[in-house]
Assembly symmetry: C2
Homo-oligomer: 124 residues x 2
DNA sequence: CAGAATCCGTTTAGATACTG
DNA sequence: CAGTATCTAAACGGATTCTG
């Protein structure tokens, strides 16, 4: 048995495969969450998202940038120094995502039960 | 130029690639919409979803069934007669999805503008 | 009618190694 | 530090053909 499940798309402990509502690619929602309290650097994002490879994180960030959720800024200096931060649009989309997570939280038992009770439709 | 865009995940005229919030696979949200007014048969679903092949529609339905959103019922009779209908859970999830669509609707201009203004991050 | 079988191209994610 | 390059495997979506 386990602790109460954190039915939160943004929580990496959550088996989010049960959350049917998705945002972007596999890591996009987690990236938004990591950025919600202020700008972060590439390597700072890799700490909480410790399973993501740099290639995949880069692709996710580029996609979020293209779609207007994240702003990438190269700060001047001798060494490479890049910051990512949420745009207004990025902050805004956190609301419907939180609503979706609330729905999943409210229906967690139903979702679990559906999986457990399910017997695959036979193909005779 | 076109008519006002129906920024609705459930509307097949909507270029939903701009909607960052997804539900299940490519057809799942459309299937839910087709079922929201009552049970439908496999062939009835293929009419509004006229681009989906039977294999893909079957896979989408099986997945919705496994996750508890859709109930499949084989009705007795001489000929195969199968009905799909939304469960309570299926009806319930329409609400956060509608909320997500409303967000997209409200931010349609921002989403379009982000794409247009975007210049790919150079890889030097 | 309600699918299943097969083949195929694309997309996605991860592992590993390397660089300005 | 902030990525890129290469490879592999799985998942996804579609076209076509066939069947109980």
């Amino acid at each position: 048995m386990r602790e109460p499940l954190p039915a939160d798309l943004f929580d990496e402990l959550c088996p989010s495969s049960l959350n049917p509502i998705r945002f972007g690619d596999k890591w996009a929602a987690l990236v938004l969450r990591c950025l919600q309290d202020g700008p972060r650097r590439f390597s700072e994002l890799r700490v909480p998202l410790h399973r993501v490879t740099p290639k995949v994180l880069t692709r996710s960030l580029r996609s979020l940038e293209r779609d207007g959720f994240v702003q990438r800024t190269v700060l001047p200096g001798p060494k490479p120094h890049v910051e990512y931060e949420l745009t207004q649009l990025g902050h805004s989309v956190l609301h419907p995502l939180a609503a979706a997570c609330a729905w999943t939280s409210d229906h967690w038992d139903d979702l679990l039960e559906a999986r457990e009770r399910h017997t695959p439709t036979p193909t005779p």
